[in-house]
């Protein structure tokens, strides 16, 4: 009785107090549970479900007005706005009143539902043992009761005391934990059915629904879906008892996921991908009718997403859900919740999950532009935190993440341009501060992956948007300055991998804006001949420059390092040459690098380098002679800009000069090499 009283009180609170805060608390606890179970990305989870205050304090640069570098380094992240709540769907939990006419079938054929579990994991064994123990103890109790009937009375009294005491005590607790229980409140008139769902029932309903989407069985199915999605969340709830077979669970989930979208569309009479129509419909009668169903569906999908742990299932669910993205646009704050979950998957999942969740995010954001800010901020911050460490394993993930982020930022260049400007400003402020002190620990502020990856992100962003948005130019020059500054502040052999990375970024930048930058000057260090310390090195150490910023000291004089160095330098140089291979001044561009390359080719003792070096030298010389021949016959002077521009225009268009082909083969090689390493 006492328990019921508590429930009523809670119901009252739910109805009259619009428990947004409570709801979000609940959400958080669910999320925490998920991440803990997940075992990975604890921090990410924490960030996502947001201890808002702390997050704000840490990442908001305006709070920390004193600009010590530590805060600067932190302030690379954008401040996040966390105080949002989920108001749309909170008034009900998605339980739908059912049509009583819908048949329930008892499962006669599979009565032993309890025993059909497919997976025999540790828990099952434990459960069996426990079952036995319970039986044994019950027997004992029964014996006692038989022996002394008066004890039964005593026990009854004690139990009732216990129950009332407990319910008093943990009514607060349950307020936080509840979710299944408040399903009851909707059911004053229609209490949720506690009939056991059987495989037969479900397939019958499915058939009914697929024949006619308007069939009342849809409601039952959606309720079943709700129970399935919440299964295991609250063991005490009724819904748990409704589902007893794995088959049923599978049936419900797959059917709803694959068919729901079509069903709703046919109910609303809208064709595929018509956002405008949906928005128009929002006030119509049809929408009013279907809305509770959609609401329930979406809510429960969210629950399902936060329940699932397997990457493959998640990918699948998300792929199905993407079709229904349009419905989310009707509920902005639910979409926010969805986005947070998605961003988490985006950052922590494997490649396909990450990509799928990104596509979903993109879909939702393009429908709901208001959410773009949230995604830009969160995505950027997540990118920064996940790119702190780079090794051979996650390098591809980071690259993918970055590309996705660029994709997201390119959705609205106006908006993201401001963010980019802020971030680049922060980067350059850090650089300036470091260049002032030049202390060793200060240098670490630029000598880290986060910093470099951040530069890389903006380089990619600029490259993608340069053609559409010529004002990116100012951004480009500051990014170029940052790159040069980093190269200047971190000199020396040990930083060659970083330097090569910077040179690649510069090449990328310059390729899009057709400006001249003496990229080779950055990597002349690679082309110096150095003696190899260990001539006979038996074991081959694997050096992958892509996952290194600084070479370990012991490898500095190793053969592999030299080899990698020169091979990467060849790539960077050929990219630079390829950019200017049709320019009238190409022979002069190539002069000094060519001298160095020739010298290196003569001196090097590493046999494997002779061939690529020779090839590059030959190609460059050939192209130099080609340009020289061509320019001997022209009559314009260097100050005739338009003629200079049009020099070899045709050849450039056709792109079949030997050097262009050579460069293509080099970059192809590089890609294949990269794939091999990863």
């Amino acid at each position: 009785m006492a328990k019921k009283l508590g429930k009523k009180a809670r119901k009252f609170a739910n109805k009259h107090l619009q428990g947004g805060a409570k709801r979000s608390r609940k959400l958080r606890s669910q999320f925490n549970r998920r991440t803990r179970k997940d075992g990975k990305g604890r921090e990410d989870g924490g960030r996502l479900d947001g201890d808002g205050d702390e997050e704000m304090r840490r990442s908001d640069p305006t709070v920390n007005t004193h600009d010590d570098v530590a805060t600067l380094a932190n302030s690379l992240e954008f401040p996040e706005d966390e105080n949002e709540f989920d108001g749309d769907l909170s008034d009900s939990d998605g339980y739908l009143s059912e049509d009583p006419e819908c048949p329930y079938y008892s499962d006669s054929e599979d009565g032993n539902v309890l025993k059909d579990s497919i997976v025999q994991d540790g828990l099952d064994g434990q459960n069996n043992d426990m079952n036995l123990a319970v039986k044994k103890q019950k027997k004992k109790l029964k014996k006692l009761l038989d022996k002394d009937p008066e004890f039964a009375n005593f026990l009854g009294k004690w139990e009732s005391e216990l129950v009332s005491h407990e319910s008093d005590e943990d009514s607060d607790e349950q307020d936080e934990m509840d979710s299944g229980d408040d399903g009851v409140d909707a059911g004053d008139k229609n209490p949720p059915s506690d009939k056991i769902l059987t495989s037969k029932t479900i397939s019958e309903w499915c058939q009914l629904v697929s024949k006619d989407p308007k069939a009342p069985a849809l409601r039952n199915l959606l309720n079943a879906f709700r129970d399935a999605c919440r299964f295991g969340l609250h063991s005490s709830s009724l819904s748990t008892q409704r589902l007893q077979s794995t088959e049923v669970f599978y049936q419900i989930i797959t059917f709803i996921l694959s068919e729901a979208d079509n069903i709703f569309r046919s109910l609303l009479d809208i064709p595929d991908d018509d956002k405008g129509k949906l928005m128009n419909l929002r006030n119509g009668q049809k929408w009013q009718d279907v809305e509770p169903l959609i609401k329930s569906y979406l809510r429960n999908c969210l629950d399902l997403l936060s329940q699932l742990t397997d990457n493959q299932i998640l990918t699948n669910v998300l792929t199905r859900l993407r079709a229904s993205a349009v419905y989310f646009s009707a509920y902005p704050s639910t979409s926010r919740r969805l986005l947070k979950i998605l961003i988490h998957f985006w950052a922590s999942g494997d490649q396909s999950l990450s990509l799928t969740s990104f596509l979903m995010i993109r879909e939702v954001v393009s429908l709901l532009p208001d959410c773009l800010d949230l995604c830009l901020t969160k995505g950027y911050n997540t990118y920064l935190s996940s790119s702190k460490l780079v090794d051979n394993r996650n390098i591809k993930n980071i690259d993918l993440f970055m590309n996705c982020l660029v994709e997201l930022y390119s959705l609205d260049v106006q908006k993201s341009g401001e963010r980019a400007a802020t971030s680049v400003g922060q980067l350059s402020a850090i650089l300036r501060q470091v260049s002032k002190s030049k202390e060793k620990e200060d240098l670490l502020k630029i000598d880290n992956w986060q910093y470099i990856n951040c530069i890389n992100l903006w380089v990619r962003f600029i490259c993608v948007n340069y053609k559409d948005c010529h004002n990116v130019h100012s951004l480009l020059s500051s990014v170029a300055q940052i790159i040069r500054g980093v190269a200047y502040l971190l000199p020396g052999m040990r930083y060659l991998p970083l330097r090569l990375k910077l040179a690649q970024m510069l090449n990328e930048l310059l390729n899009c804006n057709q400006m001249f930058f003496p990229v080779p000057s950055l990597i002349f260090g690679c082309l110096e001949f150095r003696e190899i310390f260990q001539k006979e090195q038996t074991e081959k150490t694997n050096i992958h420059f892509s996952s290194l910023l600084k070479v370990p000291r012991n490898l500095l004089k190793s053969r592999d390092f030299q080899e990698q160095c020169i091979l990467s330098a060849i790539e960077v140089l050929s990219a630079h040459f390829a950019q200017w291979s049709y320019h009238v001044a190409f022979p002069e561009v190539a002069t000094i690098p060519l001298i160095l390359l020739k010298r290196l080719h003569e001196q090097t003792t590493i046999d494997s380098l002779h061939r690529p070096l020779k090839r590059l030298i030959d190609q460059v010389s050939e192209n130099r002679d080609f340009v020289q021949r061509k320019r001997e016959v022209v009559s314009f002077s260097p100050n005739d800009l338009s003629s200079v521009e049009s020099f070899l225009e045709d050849e450039k268009m056709s792109g079949n000069a030997s050097f262009t082909q050579y460069y293509e083969s080099v970059s192809k090689n590089r890609q294949s090499r990269g794939r091999k390493f990863v």
Binding site: F151, T315, E407, P491, V584, T591
Partner: protein
Amino acid sequence: MGKSSKKKNKVILAPPLPPELDEDDIVVSDDDVEFVEENPEQALNLARLDKDAIDGFLKRVADHDDDKVELLYEERERKRRAAEALKPRNGDDIEVDPVDALPVKTLDGKVVYRPAKKARSGDEANGVKSRSEDKGAGATQGSQKEPKGRSNKKEDSKLQSPTEVPKENLHSVVLEEVKEELSSDELFEKKKAQLAELGMALLEDPESNIRSLNDLLILCNDMDQKVVKLGIMSLLAVFRDIIPSYRIRQLTEKELAVEVSKEVKKTRYYEYTLIRSYKAYLQKLISLEKQPYFYLVAVRCLCSLLDAAPHFNFRESLLASVVKNLSSSNDVARKLCGEAIRSLFRNEGKHRGEATIEAVRLIAAHVKLHDCQLHPDSIEVCLSLKFDEDLGKDDSKEDKLKPKKNKRYQNRDVAKPSEKKKIKKEMLSKARQEVRADLRAVSFTLDPKEKKMIQRETLAALFETYFRILKHSMNNSRYKATSVFPGGSHPLLAPCLEGLGKFSHLIDLDFMSELIACLKKLSGYTDHQGEIPPDNALSVSERLQCCIVAFKVWRSNLEALNVDLQDFFVQLYNLILEYRPDRDHGEVLAEALKTLLWEGKQQDMLRAAAFIKRLATFALSFGSAEAIAALITLKHLLQKNTKCRNMLENDAGGGSLSSLVAKYDPEAKDPYLSGALATVLWELSLLQKHYDPSVSGMASNVLSMANLNATQNPVQLSSANPLEAYKNLSMGLELSKPAGKVLTLKCKRKRRSKEFVALSPDVLQKADCTVGEDVLREKLQSHFAVLRGISENERLRTELNHTLSSINMYKEYKKQKKQTKKSKTGRKKVTRS
């Protein structure tokens, strides 16, 4: 009674004395001890701090009762010891006695009465007597008696007068036991207090307490290293303070024989003691310097002394050890010494320049001794030497017989003055012979002649060093030393070249040709054209520096010299290709461009053309700072050599100007054979697209020259020379400029349509492939199974717990039942009874 026992006694007796107790309480806290232990380097500062504090404390006490006390004391003394001739020199006694005679008010306000006043005063008289005797006999005995008269105002050690012996013995036995209980910490504390006390006394009244120096020195021989450290630092503070501003001269026999007044005697004694202790202190420092534990402290003390008293006696030994440490492997010591020597050079007024010559000579000797394998810092200090520019002018005015540049003949015949001058000078000096010492002491201004002489000698020594280094680098250019010092096998070359550049106007003409030849060789020039010697040990920067120095020397000597500098141009022409941005110093290259090309007059046309082409090519391959330096030089060359402007135009065949070499060779070693005139400066068209606006602007500016006729020059963009331009654009400076505001972006297209921009299509394709149904089914089912397992587990657990607790309740139920039974039976019993 041995010295040690005396010492012990003194040590043991010390604690009951009120003033010492005071200081223990007030001046030295535990924190201080810790601080000194942990930061021996900062102990010097500590010593100063202590001194101040102590001074303040003492003065306060003195202010209170000194006058009164002295009056009282003098009165009493007169009465009691009328017969005794009390020498006014015994200031310490006078000052000390009242402490014993009168109650002492400690800082915390307690009035302490001294017991055994009578005996003490007797001793006092004794002590005073013996001391006055000592003085008469000569201070040589002083050291013997010193422990007796030891400083301590309390005069406890004087308890040894014969009448007191048994008492003292008894005393010592008792105290010996106490002593054993004294921990080393307390000992240290006490010694520290003693040091502070002695230092205070010395600073307050050095004249009377000069003997305390000896005590301090003895403390410096302590077993405890910390005490020694503190001791030498206290001594440093004392010496810095009390060293007079004149040099103390050895007394001649004659002077000693003459009867002098008391005052003079007193002063002589004071000076004698000071000098002797100073010498002992220096010896101590120099010996301590060899121990690693004391190394830094000793070096610091030496440097500080050199800085404070470069005019005083024993400067030679000070200088010698400081110069030796100039190339120490310890960075801190090296820096200290360098700073000390620099301040010596800067403040010549302190020592009239004498120390400067000595220092430079010592450095020269040092370099010679170590065969030029020293740390660069040891030569670098010479860059702060100052030479008067108008020295030569005075010279020529004064003496018209000398040729104009006679000042440069210093090296050989140091100022050969004419006979007339000589006589005059001798006469003058003779006349001044008597007063000279006084004059020296009084005025630090030197007459120009003397000053000149000193500077000449300094220069001679300096250039001797420089030439030695040059010769050494040349002879051993193939010798690869594994030097511990930075700068490769010729650590001293860089500062040497810098110095030569700086003092180039002072170099003797006679050395000029030799020097130039030397530099030529060093810059890598060989008679065999072509090959650069592969094992030339000098770096590009050093070789560039050689070229710069050669030009500087040549130019600062009015270019009158008939030296062929063509070879240096060839060197520069080749070195431009050898330049590497990270390895070499761009500034040196920019300076070389400035010195050799930008500042020069009209160049040979072929050479100019070759340089123009090479600089243009160079600008394409290096950073914007290097590029702008090259472009400015290039522009300058084009302006001066109007004929070279043909290179700006695509004039097929090079016209009439084409040289013998028709084909341009970009890698040519000889500018005359490069055939550059026949080429076109296509580089400039690419440089116009340079990302750096100043470079692209300069390139356009140069290109615009093509349209002007030979006499016209394009608009001047900036008047900066290559070096300034380089510095302005160098990364370091660029980063120190405030960040430009990143403009907000304005875009034509606000939002993008749905196409993807960054992701490649094949990646996107991958996203669409979904998992097979079977896999999905299996995974979903297992997911469900796990969940069910968990909830089942939970349910069973609660059930089990419930059942178990029910069973447990049975016990309680039994108990209750028993109780009720008992009470029932009890009641029954009660009723029964």
